[in-house]
Symmetry: C2
Subunit: 133 residues, 2 copies
DNA sequence: ATATTCACTTGCGATTCGCAAGTGAATCAA
DNA sequence: TTGATTCACTTGCGAATCGCAAGTGAATAT
């Protein structure tokens, strides 16, 4: 299920960038096609990694959110981020990565807290691109 | 690069099952087509995650091996394995997984040692299938 | 000398993909 | 209140990728 080009990127954007809406994913700069995005979101819902919720403000808008199972992928994503940084396939600044690596446990705890509290501040401030997963 | 159905499975088989040859991957039961396998192995070589070496015994045979960059994926794979087990998408026995989780650091150290020493004993004895990555 | 094994390669039909355009419902701007 | 815009998708279509079956050439076994 996670073995495709987009699923892990979607999960990462939910987890570390605080993305919520279809439009945010679509415009995230990695250039996912809308049909593929819709398909991947549905498949991630089917396997209970993400879920949807209505927002009171705008009845058109749907917010996607990681489930418990989804947020449990945080260690995987963090390790992948660290790996990408170490081998220079990311644009995340090296100093930030070193910090993440040194404080793995507290970063994971913070990630989970942000999820529980629906805290949308990005985990890594101004984290930009990491295409080459 | 890792965003496809087979690459992570190949890396996992190299890392935890001790697979080395084309034939072993082909017969591993997940049913990868030979053309796809050849393509993925080449692509993993291109991005320096695996490398090849000749074996003296049989000049037809090629052994694939993780590079330093490849073995650095061990934390990712281990976390993914633990995640799959926790959410019941694996057949690895639960007790073994709990042990892996509790001793994460020593498991990683052992994985790296096995790689350095070219120790081919499987990391998880009789570990069988984990298709649903 | 013949058969088998090894790591692939080739051909081909089927699935999946990315791109562009369109849909319907909800919201905004006049 | 009415027309334009925004939102989350769908649809159509050509192109790329896929899985399967069969074949290739070199090395090894009998």
């Amino acid at each position: 299920m996670l073995g495709d080009r987009w699923s892990l990127l979607i999960i990462r954007d939910l987890m570390v960038r605080g993305y919520r809406t279809f439009k945010e994913f679509q415009q995230s700069g990695e250039g996912i096609a809308t049909n593929i995005l819709a398909d991947r979101l549905q498949k991630l819902i089917n396997v209970d990694i993400i879920s949807t919720e209505q927002v009171p403000d705008d009845r058109r808008s749907i917010h996607y959110r990681l489930t418990e199972k989804g947020i449990d992928l945080a260690p995987v994503l963090l390790d992948l981020l660290i790996w990408g940084a170490r081998h220079e396939e990311t644009s995340a600044p090296c100093a930030v990565i070193n910090q993440l690596e040194a404080n793995r446990e507290s970063v994971l705890a913070e990630t989970r807290r942000r999820w529980k509290d629906r805290d949308l501040t990005p985990l890594i401030p101004k984290f930009q691109k990491e295409n080459k997963l």
